[in-house]
Subunit: 308 residues, 2 copies
Amino acid sequence: VALLFYSEDDDPAAWGEALRRRLPDLDFRVWPEAGDPEDIDAALVWLPPSGMLAGLPRLKAVFSLAAGVDAMLRDPTLPDLPLCRMVDRSLTTTMGEYVLACVLWYHRSFDRYEAQQREARWQLHLPSPPEATVVGIMGMGELGAHVAGVLREQGFGVRGWSRTLKRVEGVTSFAGPEQLAEFLQPVGILVCLLPLTAETENMLDARLFGLLPRGARLIQVARGRHLVDEDLIAALNSGQLGHATLDVMRQEPLPERHPFWRHPQIRLTPHSASYSQPESGAEPVAENLRRLREGRPLLHVVDRRRGY
Amino acid sequence: VALLFYSEDDDPAAWGEALRRRLPDLDFRVWPEAGDPEDIDAALVWLPPSGMLAGLPRLKAVFSLAAGVDAMLRDPTLPDLPLCRMVDRSLTTTMGEYVLACVLWYHRSFDRYEAQQREARWQLHLPSPPEATVVGIMGMGELGAHVAGVLREQGFGVRGWSRTLKRVEGVTSFAGPEQLAEFLQPVGILVCLLPLTAETENMLDARLFGLLPRGARLIQVARGRHLVDEDLIAALNSGQLGHATLDVMRQEPLPERHPFWRHPQIRLTPHSASYSQPESGAEPVAENLRRLREGRPLLHVVDRRRGY
């Protein structure tokens, strides 16, 4: 089998090595050194250049390096072939690490100390015990439930909100628009892990921020279109929100002139919270390559109408 | 029993409440409202004003709010009475939280993203799995061993160095000056938790930084006098060190004109990494107050010659 790799964000050498350990006879090629396009059976890609996949006449399947394929589905040149999303343990564990890092950082007032450092001001903020820090998670799917468990293990108070009620051990659960205000009322740190749908688009807005306690912090690790950018800036400037960590933006890379870059209460990371590490992510890809070779049905094929 | 409280960094109301829950008849007074100095049997203090304790004629014991009493012992007006250091679970757990927050922050490249944000630069750094991040802990006493356990639980690679060899499960252990270079060689994040002694003073210097891999990060949570300030700045400027988080300084509060305040690769916190929370810290104090009332020997009395 010949597999063509493309990603600006992932390491081709590490993926090639991890895949060849599982499939020693794999013909692994890295764009643009694709060789004869007729050879290529499958592509392992993240946001390939428009038309790249359409130029592969014998392509049989496309494997996404990411779990969310909404951006790839927007490319009109994407061939009408099975598209498989990444399902991988490291997607979940890396998200857990990222959110834990941010929650501990806020819990121990590093955002306030950063502001004080700019003024050379020495002032202690007594840390409360972790159970007194209430973290609210919006979106209690696979990622949300894992993050809740990681935070519970560190002793934080955790509550979850989702469209339909999800029961997770040790987590106070809320569902639907009618319970949103009750959910948000004591939340000192809000984590957004919602899927992007018509209902959740623009959900992080002035009204929602107004339902949080004054000075709450935001960790936004879902999709840029959940957030109304101007409302975030207004909430930070008024003190309604204390600080925000944003890993996702409406436009990525974030344009250089966007005010988020220079806001002192915003910490930006370049969509780095969660992703697949070759060591664990190679296994589901290898399994699908075996299935492709043997003509068996592929796993994790996206339903294009639903979008996931 | 009448107890006089003094601290600029701790909340007298929370301590009074936590102590009175254990000793309902406690006469709890907060400096400067001490009432008749003749009444006071004991003092619960952190860095009291010089001479304050000497003005209490019937004082029988001094309880420190901190574990390290080196600063209090330097006060020549400290009365020659039993001085008890704080021994409290929350001292250890708060230190574990702080170091974990910093290690996760470095592991997930938040220091690099902070630097990139200043230049509006969007560039991803692939996170490695936690076992590939090697954290070195100098000082493997009670705090060091606890921190090692917290980091092990998150999957980090942990090695420890101390004066005499300490065996801690899952931690590669080194001891003495002759093993220092071997200990430091793969350490990407160095945590200083050493006691301050003649041998460890100024130990964090250019020579030691030169034994770390280029770009290593430092978490300094021990005592300001372990660190040669100018050597840290030189190592950051040359790129030998990538970033430093400092919770302790030679002079606290750090003077406003000190270059640490404004160095872009230094994160300062105001000696906030570890301390006693009233809820758990009140128990050992209450126990010593009971012992004082009943004439039994006090616990955790400092040996003034050793200094701890």
